[in-house]
Amino acid sequence: MRAGEVWVFSENLDLTLEILSEGRRLADKLQTELSAIILGCNIKEEAEEIAEHNVDKIYFMDNPAFKSLQTEPYLSVFMELAARHTPEIILIGSTKRGRELAARLAARLKAGLVQDAFKFEIDEKGMLIASRIVYGGNGVALITYQAKPQIATVPPRTFEKAKPSDKQADIISLDVKLDEPKTKVVEVKPAEVAKVRIEEARVVICGGRAVAKKEDFKMFEELASILGGHVGVTRPLAEDRKWFSEWVGLSGKKVKPEIYI
């Protein structure tokens, strides 16, 4: 029997492209099809662009209900699709929204979920093995699934973006009755963030609890400006000492620089 499809989804379309490249590898290994689920408002062009990135199918729905980025409308689509097809693997972008969506979807499908997986393998029975960091960075766990679909979230910058190819995916327009969100967004405030996004920085100079005074970060800033980098801190400095509004690490910004000091 042919394996079910591999699905890829993120509300962040750049992240969708990154996960597509790993999705391709897994789909090829299982000799099955790779599909991207593209949901949003006024995103037809983006969907057409993603269709040119070595993917077999695009499940596409353009609806104003996705504008507020709340979880329920996404869940409606996933539940409808999962009832029609039986996916083998579902990979979801690990943003905070994605992590919530994945956990709620897993609960509804009574499926297993591995959050923040950074590596995948297929075992001899064709089941997925996902690697993730546990115990605050002290361990790497290898986790296997007992049933399908096998769901995992993938953090940004884990895999290289999929490259454009000659293949043109079929775009399948969906018409699903969407659930109303039970939460109402009354305001969206931009986060107080630095000019450069630290996730994108090539050089990160990170300070931790050993730094005695906030003023000492001037040295970090100086080094960062010489190297063309970005200063980051660990969670205790951001949260307990309130010196910064964001931090680097498992629960904060995930960085993948070329130089990390």
């Binding site: 956990a103 709620r104 605050g136 790497v140 939460t183 986060a191």
Partner: protein, 262 residues
Amino acid sequence: MPRIIVCIKYAIDVSQVKVDSATRKLLTADAPRKISDFDENALEEAVKIKTKYGGEVIVLTATAENASTALREALAMGADKAIQIQDPKIQNADTMIISNILAKAIRKVGSFDIILCGEASIESYSGQVGPRLAEVLGVPIVTYVSKVNLEGNTFTVERRLEDCSEVIMVNTPVLLTVTKEINVPRVPTLMDIIKASKKELLTWTLEDIGVKGEEIATPSIRVIDVSAPKIERKKIKISGESPKEIAENLVKALIQEGVIGG
């Protein structure tokens, strides 16, 4: 007056996990246990809501080991009642099973207005139990909440995401998962600790809440290995006569490795 349930994890203190240097395995069995950090924030917020509006705070945990010490601490922090569902079989439970156990325990507890959980556990930072529990119970959920305001039965909460914060309105009954920024958990006074010793601490078995053997025997995932991560270091030592020379040699080495442009 709100009835608040706080779900906590009796977790391994990750800052005290040691590694067996021969096998690279983590010695988790020897590491001390405590209330998972973010769950303390959830409890603190529950006590704050109770102080303002009255009501009752019930702490709940599903645990393989006896978590009485941690639950006494929760009672000292201001919870009115603590319940542990304790069974050695919970050791191998995944988040699906834990959320099913908690849901059944909550049904036995009776009605509730608010359920508070930490955003994730310190052990695995997976963040699944809160969202899964909300689905099993069929209640709305807001995750990563960093600020709350309750008026009547409507919450206005702030939700902290990567690039923005959302202000969200939601009605009770509701489940919220909270971040560390929401508050600073109190340190109980001696008086609080004495008072806590007289509060109700219950231990329920899986049978007490109607969880059958097969429900706990079939997790959705299985951990096949946990090892300390291997970080390959090149162990290049940069030396020189003066700081200037050392710096020049470092730059040379970095250019050679191709990490910075020449």
